[in-house]
Amino acid sequence: MFRDAWLMASKDLRIERATRVGTGQILPFGGLVLILFGLAISPVYQVTVAVGVRRPMLAQAAPGLFWITVLLAALLALGRSFAVESTDGNLDALKMAGLDPAGIFLGKSAAVAAQLLALQLVLGIGAFILYGPPLADPVLLLTVVILATLGITAAGTVYAAVASGLRVRDTMVPLLVLPVVAPVLLAATKATEAALFGPLDNGWSWAMLLGVFALLYAGVGMLAFGPIMEES
């Protein structure tokens, strides 16, 4: 299983290296979304965050805006991940090779997760520059980013697979994936708020929730991928 996962993940990353869809298209898209949020929420808007302390609303909203951007980018990456398989009958070929469905699931999730993490490194720096929030707890932030990414990709891969197929419309992926990852958005935003602005709320317990979500969907995906991939 892990051997198949490694094989699939390295193959997907090799395709990404050859085509550069992630760096050439998804990353600019994410940057664009960050900038558009900046235009929508004017930098002059201020909110009071403590006695006598006012902060730009944009900085205060940075965690939520960042995670929405990541979700949108994840939708593109997930769609891409399955578009690669549905052209030229490769899904059939994978079945004929007898790869373990759980391995395929883990491999494809891992590849998307790796791409998203790289993406977030750049987008995160961009968000700090554009929105200018403080950073109170870098360790918590890093933990949150990793756990939330794993959760988004695990759940996203399950539902992107459900929505995949030659004649299936692209609109299915957002409809299925977004409600499922809504808890990730909530928890990641809360935990990121704690990591950026200080331990107002219990950031680590939100991070733990993210870990649970990722674990659960990893299990679900390993079990569900067989029936989902079986075409007849």
Binding site: T48, V53, N202, M208, L215, G219, M222
Partner: protein
Amino acid sequence: MTDLDLTPRDVPTGGSGSLRNWLIVGALAVVAAFVLFQALTSARVYFLNVDEAVAQRADLGDDTFNMQGTVISEPMSTGEAMVFTMTFGGENAEIRHIGAEPTDLFKVGEQVVAKGHWDGTEFVSNQLLVKHSEEYVEDNPDRLDYELDDNGNPVHSSEPTDGTTSDGSDDAGQ
């Protein structure tokens, strides 16, 4: 190309990973359930109770949050604001509400959620939501009174506090 070996291959059986998957998933579920329990018991999602809000007053600063408690004083109008006292867990808080009138359910003895922030020791509220309990009590003109339990939660008493009339009609659901 005649030297290419095309002998049909005996495909390795590679045991069905089904059992192993179940084991992995089972282990994950146990871990997840444990962690979930831990996380859920500590996550504050929606509101702070009055005692918690009072304890964290310094940390909260001017943050907007929801505070929950039971109304214990008859609200008084002072010009544009409505002033009353809320209690929970043995702590009281003075509320100055500026904003839309709460619903008719807002009255002494009800649990409410006030949305606002601390201003010194006073809580300035912009929105008052009435948190109805899952208790539904028959509207009986004889009995409109309440008591508070140790936590400051209202207790619907079958005995009116003025003690003049007794009321035995409401025990069915309690």
